[in-house]
């Protein structure tokens, strides 16, 4: 395992210590494995919490910050946080106006966040849930509720975060989060795996000249595996699948994210972006605030995800509203 770490079992806790030490003005760790805004919950504001496994920075923890999230519960690498940690995150996010749970559609996370929600109900903290399920490769459209949440969650964090920062109530913040989640479609492809520190071995095996289309961010099997194709062919196929699932028409506006899973450098993302832009413009749609970089990763995995987020005036305004965290500022 070629990673820079100490004891694999300390990976997450040391990472969180370092994160808070490097950015004390942004992040605080009020209890183990719970990261909240350094300033504490804003009174009267709806709190937004997320959570999930580690190994996806900036997702999940990184997006805690003004105009974004209020707290995150952090599990081991690729493992769900505990119910206790989720409940803790919710308590620290609560500013008296309730809490939105906004996270990816993974069985364990759903189970635990639901249970945490029930616990918080007993403490009279009102909460709602919006699940991110943007990965079109993970289930067909008629089973869209089974889809996994991937990089599209960043758009939901951003728009819901902006709405909450504008002091909207829980129902409104929840509506915006759901609307953004519904407007997002993602697809990924991977070239090489990553290694979960505690496991010590790669998450999957793949040939030296192979790629897998549709692979998930933990190495979940995709749609096909074949010889590595040229960047333009990869971009075309990914855009085809996204636009089949959510067509864009003349006059539509959309943001697009070309996201590295970790090891793929920005140089390659920009090569992809040229072609992605062409596909969107060919559909007659206009690109708003494209995001090219590392927004949702799988540590050192090589690969790319593309996310489309269809915008109306409301979402566009929220997407462009100021926000900041250690990994991203708008």
């Amino acid at each position: 395992m070629k990673k820079i770490l100490n004891d694999p079992f300390d990976y997450v806790d040391e990472m969180l210590d370092g994160l808070c030490a490097a950015h004390p003005e942004t992040y605080a760790q009020p209890e183990t494995r719970v990261i909240a805004r350094a300033g504490g919950a804003k009174q009267g504001k709806v709190g937004i919490v997320t959570g999930g496994g580690s190994g996806h920075l900036p997702v999940f923890t990184g997006y805690v910050g003004p105009g974004l999230l209020d707290a995150a519960a952090i599990g081991d690498v690729f493992a769900s946080p505990t119910v206790e940690q989720m409940a803790g995150a919710m308590r620290h996010a609560h500013g008296g106006a309730g809490v939105l749970r906004l996270y990816g559609n993974y069985g364990g996370d759903v189970m635990n966040f639901d249970m945490a929600g029930e616990m918080l109900e007993m403490e009279d903290i009102q909460s709602t849930t919006v699940l991110l399920a943007d990965d079109v490769a993970s289930a067909p459209p008629n089973e869209a509720e089974k889809r996994r949440g991937v990089a599209g969650m960043v758009y939901a964090f951003k728009c819901a975060g902006a709405k909450a920062e504008a002091m909207a109530d829980l129902a409104e913040v929840t509506r915006v989060a759901q609307k953004t989640a519904d407007a997002c479609r993602s697809i990924g492809m991977a070239l090489t795996p990553c290694t979960v520190p505690q496991a010590g071995k790669p998450t999957f095996q793949i040939g030296d000249d192979e790629m897998e289309m549709g692979m998930g961010i933990h190495g979940e099997p995709g749609i096909w595996r074949d010889k590595l194709k040229p960047a333009d062919a990869i971009a075309d196929e990914m855009m085809d699948r996204l636009l089949t699932d959510m067509p864009l028409a003349k006059g539509d506006r959309a943001s697009v994210m070309v996201n590295s899973l970790g090891a793929t450098p920005p140089e390659e993302l920009y090569i992809m972006y040229r072609r992605v832009k062409r596909a969107i413009e060919n559909a007659g749609a206009a690109i708003v605030m494209p995001l090219v970089g590392r927004y949702a990763t799988s540590m050192e995995m090589t690969g790319v995800t593309i996310t489309l987020c269809k915008l109306d005036d409301e979402l566009e305004t929220l997407l462009k509203a100021p926000a900041s965290c250690a990994f991203w500022s708008v």
């Binding site: 505990t82 119910v83 069985g107 364990g108 759903v110 635990n112 249970m115 496991a199 099997p221």
Partner: protein
Amino acid sequence: MGGLTSESLCRGLPRICAALEACADELNTADGALGDGDLGVTMQRGARGVQGMLDSLPADVGMALLACAQAFVKISGSTYGTLLATGLMSAAKTCKGRGVVPWAEMSSLVGGAVTAMQHRGKGALGDKTVLDALDAVRAATAGLEASEKILTAATTAVDQVMDDFRGKPSRQGRARMFGDKSIGLDDPGMLALKRMLYALKED
């Protein structure tokens, strides 16, 4: 006759905990073949949590079961821990305020747990999970009143259900991703339940 009391829990739980310590590697391996390989760790950590609160186990059977449930959600976010806690909490609610719960109620407690766990995990019977094993236990123990008979019926039922499902594919949790590759393998969650039940049975 007798029934489930804080004392009987204090006798039975250490045996379950010891069994979970002993079979941790086995469960990790089974889960490793179909998932992330952490089931043994989850159960071992949960068992240690339970062990740590045996001294202060409440006399109220409901509260005692609640304490067990909490031990499991504290230590891990893995599915099985949360589902087990969900089942225990369901039983805890039914038993709350009682010092003794007749053995005859076991089948219905298990049935209540299965329902709560189905709701929590959005899993269905037939998916080849611990739910199928628990439901078989519920069915096999219905109408029984003696703890020995209940245990014998339960262990027989679990063995039977594992035989029945071995040749089927997993349809839930991480194992689902393995599709037909899961055929021929035991569900790790059923195996964990089997180890716990046998721990109570053996003398």
